[in-house]
Symmetry: C2
Subunit: 195 residues, 2 copies
């Protein structure tokens, strides 16, 4: 059994390595940095680096916050309008993401140019989406609709981050508001009959 102290230390080291990775990646592109440099900067051996992350792209992404169990349950048992409840769920998650804006920005820029990093994040998001689908299945009978909504939700987060990266002085929460409105409008458009 791993003691809580050790788990905490592990998380700290993981974060140290991510920090070192991102700092180096701000000067050079991630591709031009070697794992050796990162390990050196983080103060661990190369082998230890690989004990924490399978590759430097994963190190750059770090350990993104998963959807909160509590929030998922709240969504599951919510009784408001579905769209309002989902929006609230996303707001909560955005709040968590906003705690590490600096990291989010750098990771975002890396994701834009690095396919491998995108793939790793996509894998993580697929898992999150699945867990969200499960939660939504309690409120939506049709599995396809539940899956669609979960997909819309993770998508909205991604697009909100994208918008926030582009627009100076637009807070994350506000970016989500805009994206969300776009989603609602798009839904309306999809239900519109021909002119």
């Amino acid at each position: 059994m791993t003691s809580p102290l050790r788990q905490k230390r592990r998380l700290e080291t993981a974060r140290e390595i991510q920090k070192a990775t991102l700092e180096l990646a701000m000067k050079d592109r991630l591709e031009d940095i070697t794992t050796e440099e990162i390990a050196l900067a983080a103060g661990v051996s190369t082998r230890t680096f690989f004990n924490y992350y399978p590759n430097k792209e994963a190190a750059a992404i770090g350990l993104p916050p998963p959807f909160s169990q509590e929030d998922k349950e709240a969504l599951q048992h919510g009784s408001g309008a579905l769209s309002a409840d989902i929006k609230q769920f996303l707001d909560k998650h955005m709040e968590v993401l906003a705690r590490d804006e600096a990291i989010l920005r750098i990771v975002g820029s890396i994701l834009r140019s690095n396919e491998k990093a995108r793939g790793i994040l996509a894998g993580f998001l697929a898992g999150e989406r699945e867990s969200l689908t499960d939660a939504l299945s309690y409120r939506v009978e049709d599995p396809q609709s539940a899956a669609t909504l979960a997909s819309h939700a993770t998508d909205a987060i991604g697009r909100a981050i994208h918008l926030w990266e582009q627009e100076e002085n637009l807070p994350l929460a506000a970016a989500l508001d805009i994206v969300w409105q776009g989603l609602i409008d798009a839904s309306r458009l999809l239900l519109l009959p021909a002119d």
Copy 2:
């Protein structure tokens, strides 16, 4: 200038290499195959392999068909209900994908377990999504809605393929129909007020 003949030869070789990659990947997992083995099986040198694809994951994915320019223009200038026109656009694309069902199935299974491959495909899809967003911008004023719809569209394709992989005897086109219906239903759910 590259002569048409050479371009054709190049495409053929690219396909040969993909074929060799997929054949080997059907026995072993892609991770356990070396580029050397693939090159040998494809009858080219390792160095040539890397002239065609930057890595074995890209070789497995090959050159996925992009959205047809013609179809995008038809969507752009279409005058039917937006949802019907998008659906038709997707139907057309699915038809193209269905021409290589065998490859699609193997690639699908690889994508499920291989992050790097996912990343490569994600990058490709991001480009396609962008071009679709441009096309939709002619019919939808709000950029967010256009981006949302484009995202929904590529998403639907992905989910349709996923469904088709799971359900025995469900044609690709039928899978898209189901997924699309889920999308429409989800749109309706999002516009619903609280109970």
